[in-house]
């Protein structure tokens, strides 16, 4: 039964890296056609955001009052200009950067606190009631209203939009994490760790959290879409970005007066928002199917 092995003749293979699993998941993701479309759109947005400086020669804020409301296809401005003669293409590029950054930061911050609270609520029964009732309280507000409220209190700026969306993401994330913690906590390997005398902190972060990653990743991806949409909505309502900022929602708001003379001012940023939200949603959907087979049916 026991093989004769001496220390010298066996080289312990280096453990496979965790990145192996990520690349495997990515490969499987490519089998979902819609997800591939989503990934391409997200890729384009990332390229636009990173390469904004090189992809256009116009400053998104420089006005050119001699050439206002130029339609797409005009010489030098292939997407046209807005009511102040600013190049739409540059504005679109810098808008991609803003929505990506705002979405990313608010999702990261919201998920961080959501995961923390979810872990605590799921693991400690005495905190569960408190945390979950607080999150119910926040759920009672329609999402955008809550964000409005926060921005109204803090004042309107993009930073405050990030704060508002982060706060608003916390309860839904906490709820998702709590659910997974509740099921993972009952697993025998957690009891095994307790019987070894492991501390709660070690159990929570080394054993429970790694087994809850799938729903967290799915949540973060899907929430990216919500965050981008909310940023634009708030800016559209005049509660986010300053009017001149090339933020997509703000661009639509600025363009709505000129809907009939220069419809491209509304349509271009509108399509951009739609595509990006669509992209994050379909990628999130595919990830959910992939990582969390149990959630598939409830879709």
């Amino acid at each position: 039964m026991q093989p004769e092995v001496t220390q010298a003749d066996v080289v312990i293979p280096e453990p496979k890296k965790a990145s192996h699993k990520i690349s495997q998941t990515f490969k499987k993701l490519l089998k979902y056609k819609l997800a591939v479309v989503g990934l391409i759109i997200i890729g384009i947005q990332i390229v636009m955001a990173l390469g904004a400086n090189w992809l256009t020669s116009y400053d998104p804020l420089t006005q050119n009052l001699s050439l206002v409301n130029a339609p797409p296809g005009s010489a030098g401005h292939w997407l046209g200009t807005d009511n102040y003669g600013r190049d739409m293409w540059s504005r679109l590029l810098y808008g991609a950067r803003i929505s990506l950054i705002v979405g990313f930061i608010s999702v990261v911050v919201g998920t961080f606190f959501g995961v923390l609270l979810g872990l605590l609520a799921g693991y400690y029964k005495f905190l569960d009631g408190l945390i979950m009732r607080l999150s119910d309280l926040m759920f009672a507000f329609p999402g955008i209203l809550l964000a409005l409220l926060i921005v109204a209190v803090l004042g309107s700026s993009l930073t405050n939009v990030v704060i508002a969306i982060s706060i608003w993401s916390i309860p839904s994330c906490a709820r998702i994490v709590r659910g997974s913690v509740l099921s993972v906590k009952k697993q025998e390997y957690i009891t095994a760790m307790r019987s070894l005398g492991s501390s709660d902190r070690r159990i929570l972060f080394k054993h429970i959290l790694p087994n809850c990653t799938a729903p967290i990743i799915v949540f973060a991806t899907m929430h990216m879409a919500t965050a981008i949409l909310s940023t634009s909505s708030l800016s559209f309502l005049g509660l986010g970005a300053e009017p001149a900022t090339p933020e997509w929602g703000a661009m639509i708001a600025a363009g709505q007066q000129f809907m009939w003379q220069a419809p491209h001012m509304v349509i271009i940023p509108g399509i951009a928002i739609m595509l990006v939200v669509f992209a994050f949603n379909v990628v999130g959907d595919a990830l959910r199917d992939l990582l969390d087979p149990n959630m598939k049916k409830q879709g």
Partner: protein, 327 residues
């Protein structure tokens, strides 16, 4: 003179059932209802009983994984019942558990080397290299290979996983191990291997086992003494040989008569118990077994039988022990 390692005094574990708006305790599941034991150093004490008789709860309660409702635990002459989690930590080193389901008892996201190392990390100030060496030698000790160090649990078979569980339990060099249905999930040939491994490790490290199982054959093979439980109560406790050859309690007799024999056609009397096992929420008054006992009388339904000595180290809880039964 054998020394007592672990003393369990009148341990009770009741789970409250809450209901109503105020979540008041409506009733209780009496999972373990008064168990007293003395576990001798170096022995294997088997615990048998049907599902739901409280044997697993007993094991978990002994290890402090479940707070006791009542009772006292004395480990190596120290009362550990009231200790806080921090104070209990040095004792956790001495007491380990091997779990029933080798698939559920290992973290699927953790490499097995890291899983075993973690046990050492929690208690021992060894450096990384020493830890790794220790884990590698443990892996060999339980019949696995050094190459297995960096693999994930899903790459192993059930028997191998159980060996990993054993290695993890051994990592802290405990003196007492609770094996909770440790081989029940394995197929028979692998069961034998794992049982032999447990025996080998016991003699090498002077381990004491509390071996919980519903499999009477397995318990007979590994145990020095056997405790039979029914509905959270102790029914009979005897040295292995005495219990299997000469069971005195009617429940033990019925249980043993249900073991399939290797000689077919051999005449034997099977004692068939009628009815279902009563609910532990509302156990029968008097002797817990009287509702199904073939020899129960009025007395049994009224008073709970005392724990009586029937032979050397042989005890049973029955009013009629030593009378009609032993005739």
């Amino acid at each position: 003179m054998p020394t007592t390692l672990f003393q369990v005094k009148n341990v009770k574990k009741h789970y409250p059932i809450k209901g109503g708006i105020l979540r008041r305790t409506k009733s209780e599941v009496k999972a373990v209802n008064g168990v007293s034991l003395e576990i001798t150093k170096g022995e294997t004490l088997g615990v048998v009983g049907e599902s739901g008789c409280g044997k697993s709860t007993l094991g978990r309660a002994i290890l402090g994984l479940e707070p006791l409702t009542e009772g006292q635990l004395i480990f190596a002459d120290q009362d550990i019942t009231q200790l806080s989690r921090r104070q209990l930590k040095p004792f956790k080193r001495e007491m380990q558990m091997i779990f029933q389901d080798p698939y559920a008892s290992l973290n699927p996201r953790q490499r097995i080397g890291a899983a075993i190392e973690e046990a050492i990390k929690i208690h021992n100030p060894m450096n990384a290299k020493q830890r790794r060496e220790k884990v590698l030698s443990l892996l060999e000790e339980v019949g696995l290979k050094r190459e297995h160090y960096g693999r994930f649990p899903h790459e192993f078979s059930g028997g191998q996983r159980q060996r990993i569980g054993i290695a993890r339990a051994l990592a802290l060099q405990p003196s007492f191990i609770v094996c909770d249905e440790a081989v029940s999930a394995l197929d028979v040939s692998v069961q034998a291997q794992v049982l032999n491994l447990l025996k080998k490790l016991q003699s090498k490290y002077e381990l004491t086992y509390l071996f919980i199982s519903h499999d009477l054959g397995v318990v007979r093979y590994i145990s020095d003494r056997v405790l039979v439980m029914y509905l959270g109560n102790m029914v009979e406790l005897a040295p292995s040989e005495a219990l299997y050859e000469n069971p005195v309690h009617p429940y033990t007799q019925a249980l043993l008569s249900a073991i399939p024999r290797t000689v077919p056609n051999k005449e034997r009397e099977r004692i068939k118990l009628m009815g279902e096992i009563p609910s532990p929420t509302d156990p029968p008054k008097g002797c817990a077994f009287h509702t199904r006992c073939p020899i129960a009388t009025e007395l049994c339904s009224q008073s709970k039988p005392e724990w009586r000595a029937v032979g050397e180290g042989h005890y049973a809880a029955c009013h009629y022990v030593g009378e009609e039964l032993n005739a």
